[in-house]
């Protein structure tokens, strides 16, 4: 049985004075794997990374890090944090030089000063920034700062590396280098890596597991739930055509190639008889081809037809609507439920 780097159960977390709340029923990440957190803005990706980084304490639920609850450690929590390193997408660099930043983690761990120089050079080489040791950290561009922050984390050789949108500020020419570095660190050192991204293709390209978040919750997504296509606009609304004769409408003006995601929570299911009462954009007919129990009193429903969906719906709602396998249904969602990813 694979060792779990993380096991989360019934986690809840909210910021004081904010309506946003993160609720993760269950989540397990195997040690030595790469997991991607994907979702739109305000989905909770960064918050979840902060919880995984032990920088926020959940208000409810339990986090296990390599089989132990780190929040039981009291004053020795920092020792568990030393197994991790986190890089934010807009990282904070301390005042001073690049070298001062790189060796910060070594310094607080009491690692001998003699080792700092060699380690700093090695870390800078990994992110293609050799020779930057004595540059002031405040003069770096956003992309350079992000690479220095990555080097500052890599120098520590952590068991778990948490990366918040690691390529967000990086030049396109360096994105593949950073992606290769993530893979290299994972395969060579066995480091567990959890990263967040808006980029679906990046997530599927690098990660062993893709975890989708929406509005603070983990949601079940499949390839059927996001659509790539050529977007057109009539000046008021836009649409893409993922399948011949099917248009998905969404607000705003877009053109060119787009990927869209439809939030499962906003998809409504109606019986076929209600067709006359329903009108408007994004109304599709389909047939339930799969129906099975999922976690937390949810049922996984696959709908095949004009559009293919795989979504989680509350069991109670399904019972109320008497949804059964092979049943013809109507699926409707408002244009606002369509989120443009890129």
């Amino acid at each position: 049985m694979a060792v779990k780097a993380y096991e989360l159960k019934d986690i809840r977390f909210g910021y004081p004075g904010s309506r946003f709340e993160l609720e993760i029923g269950g989540l397990a990440i195997d040690a030595g794997t790469i997991a991607a957190l994907v979702g739109p803005n305000a989905a909770g990706k960064t918050t979840l990374l902060m919880l995984l980084g032990l920088l926020h304490k959940p208000s409810a639920g339990a986090i296990q890090l390599f089989g132990q609850n780190p929040w039981n450690e009291g004053n020795r929590l920092f020792l568990r944090r030393r197994e991790l390193a986190m890089v934010s997408h807009n990282p904070y660099l301390f005042k001073g030089t690049v070298f001062d930043n790189l060796v910060f983690g070594l310094k607080v761990r009491g690692i001998s000063e003699k080792e700092w120089k060699a380690k700093a050079e090695e870390a800078l080489g990994l992110v293609d920034m050799s020779g930057f040791e004595q540059k002031p950290a405040s003069g770096l561009s956003a992309g350079q700062a992000q690479r220095i922050a990555l080097a500052r984390a890599l120098i520590l050789k952590p068991r778990v590396l948490l990366l918040d949108e690691p390529t967000a500020n990086i030049d396109a020419s360096l994105v593949s280098r950073i992606e290769a570095l993530i893979n290299e660190v994972n395969s060579r050192m066995g480091t567990t890596i959890v990263f967040s991204t808006h980029n679906f293709s990046q997530a599927f390209r690098i990660a062993n597991e893709v975890i989708y978040l929406s509005e603070g919750k983990r949601v079940e997504y499949s390839h059927e739930n996001y659509f790539s296509g050529h977007a057109q606009s009539d000046g008021r609304v836009s649409w893409i055509e993922p399948k011949s004769g099917t248009k998905i409408f969404f607000p705003g003006q877009f053109s060119g190639h787009l990927t869209c995601v439809i939030s499962p929570g906003k998809i409504k299911i109606f019986s076929d008889e209600q067709k006359k009462e329903l009108a408007g954009p994004n109304l599709f007919a389909g047939k339930i081809t799969r129906l099975e129990m999922a976690e937390n009193d949810l049922a996984l429903v696959r709908v095949a037809g004009d559009l293919n969906f795989r979504i989680n719906l509350p069991l109670q709602e399904l019972k109320k609507k008497k949804v059964a396998l092979s049943m013809q249904i109507l699926v409707k969602f408002p244009p606002e439920a369509v989120e443009v990813i890129k």
């Binding site: 004081p16 902060m50 980084g53 920088l55 920092f78 944090r81 030393r82 991790l84 390193a85 986190m86 934010s88 990282p91 904070y92 301390f94 005042k95 910060f104 983690g105 607080v108 761990r109 500052r152 984390a153 520590l156």
Partner: protein, 214 residues
Amino acid sequence: MIFQELAQAIWVSVKVSAAAAAIASALAVPLALFLSSAQFRGKRWVLLINQTLMAAPTVVIGLLLYFLLSRNGPLGMFGLLYTQTAMMFGEILLILPIIIGFAYTALRQVDAKARLTALSLGATAGQAGWVVIREARFPLLVAILAGFARAISEVGVAMMLGGNIRGYTRNITTTIALESAKGEFTNGVILGVLLLFLTLGINLMVNLGLRSRD
């Protein structure tokens, strides 16, 4: 003789105010760090009370300590009234809220990410707190200098608790008050200008020292 008295007054001013600023800073900065990072019920009231105390009149603080330290007061047995120690305690009370207020603002301005970044890189809570203080060192220095400037320029506490004893507790401001009371306004103005230059010199030395270390 006059110059000797003047030098003595300058020395008393600098010594007492610097000691008061150092002790008050040692108390105020950790308190401000706690206030800037901790969330607790009543925090808003604590800040409001501190802001109010920033404007406390020097004579009120002097009077309060006078009652405490006078021979029949609860702390009278220590015999501190009309000593430099009493002046220093009074000045600490006077400038503590000022340094807390300015230091709180300085530490709040440091990106909250500084602390989180330090923690995420394995720092202990104490090490992360030190990082925040280091990142805010220039505005913190301004807070400490503001406290020192307030201490060296006040007259109420020094007069009430020091008693303006020649050659012992007489400092620049009590000398100015004495000279003005005697009608020697020119001397008062000259001493005032001297006080300003003294403060300027100390500010310059501290700033230059810190910048050269940076």
